[in-house]
């Protein structure tokens, strides 16, 4: 039954796992006979299936395109923003306990047979929990997809994500409080959140030897020549055309053609100001880090 839900060839498959599940729950059979497994039983039964690679991102930076391209590889098992992973990260338990649960849930969501790559594209705020992932999967390579925070903030102001709503993420997940003025506007909160995610990605890149920073401008080519090799995935020449076909379509709504463009040209003066004060320094630090890493590659 799980294979029917998650297989990329399934007609119910959607770009994000939550959308796939919601499509499946229109089926009364799946609705009535769904299963629930307590975490302690999951730990006892889940066979270890570490992912091949992890995809962190700033949001609106091409990570869905990365996951859509990789899932066209033969036998690939790619999960995009799986809710159960975020649920175990949200539980305010000690890091070691969260890492154990994370290992169990990621293993349980993994492929039945480990014949192809298993890639997890995470929620944008998952990089805040980078230490938990490192404890659960210390050797698994990861990438962080990002772009100019002005582009992200404008896109988020048109259709906002969960983490950009003030108070949606519990304060303990942020670590240090965001450096915000009193009575911050939505743009200021969003820009500060983007700055925090960029800062965490920089710290991860400094602390870890198996990370790769990917600017949106490097896509889609970086999937073939940077990300796949970084994950140890070999892409057969016969598959390249099929994978590139994905890039012609809107990654999150594949019935629409791709129409990417820089959003920050549409930014309001308030958005420009918020990004300049609260996110640009972190973005520029990360860009310098990427330049250094690319020069050494």
């Amino acid at each position: 039954m799980r294979r029917l839900v998650l297989d990329r060839r399934s007609p119910v498959r959607r770009p994000v796992l939550r959308q796939t599940i919601e499509r499946c729950l229109r089926d009364p059979f799946r609705l009535l006979f769904q299963r629930q497994t307590p975490l302690d039983q999951l730990e006892a039964h889940a066979e270890a299936r570490p992912p091949t690679g992890l995809v962190y991102h700033l949001s609106r930076s091409g990570s869905t395109l990365v996951s859509r391209m990789l899932e066209f590889l033969p036998d690939a098992w790619v999960l995009s923003e799986p809710g159960p992973v975020d649920s175990v990260l949200t539980y305010p338990a000690p890091l070691a306990e969260r890492a154990r649960w994370l290992h169990a849930i990621v293993s349980a969501l993994g492929p039945d047979t480990a014949t192809g790559p298993y890639v997890l594209k995470l929620d944008a705020w998952a990089v805040l929990d980078f230490d938990v992932f490192e404890q659960a999967f210390p050797d698994v390579p990861w990438v962080f997809c990002y772009r100019h925070p002005g582009d992200v903030l404008v896109s988020q102001s048109l259709q906002g994500s969960y983490h950009m709503i003030p108070g949606a993420l519990p304060a303990w997940r942020l670590g240090e409080p965001l450096a915000l003025p009193a009575q911050p506007s939505l743009d200021e909160y969003g820009a500060a959140m983007l700055g925090r995610l960029l800062d965490r990605a920089l710290r991860a890149a400094k602390d870890s030897s198996h990370g790769l920073l990917v600017h949106n401008e490097q896509l889609p080519g970086a999937v073939l020549d940077r990300i796949a090799p970084h994950f140890g995935i070999r892409i057969p020449a016969s598959q390249v055309d099929a994978i590139l076909e994905v890039t012609k379509w809107n990654a999150k709504n594949p019935v629409l053609p791709y129409a990417g463009r820089d959003r920050r040209a549409d930014a309001s003066p308030e958005q420009v100001d918020a990004v300049d004060r609260l996110a640009m320094a972190a973005f520029e630090r990360l860009e310098r880090r990427r330049d250094l890493a690319d020069a050494g590659a």
Partner: protein, 70 residues
């Protein structure tokens, strides 16, 4: 998923443990057809389940999904 009616709860466990029972219940997104199929399949196993029982269980499951983060 918690199913409150005892006979329906017993039927759910029987079906989950018996994949050979799935084909007769799969394949329709029509709620009325599905309820009728469940009632008939339960009756063939000596369990008394009504279409209202199934509808309530389906609605409870939909609501649980909607409220999972509330």
């Amino acid at each position: 998923m918690a199913v409150s009616e005892p006979d329906l709860a017993a039927f759910v466990e029987l079906v989950v443990a018996d994949p050979s029972a799935w084909p007769t219940l799969q394949g329709t997104e029509n709620g009325n057809e599905f309820c009728a199929a469940v009632v008939a399949a339960a009756a063939s196993r000596g369990l008394r389940v009504t279409e209202d029982d199934v509808t309530r269980a389906l609605n409870a499951a939909r609501r649980a999904w909607l409220e999972r983060w509330v």
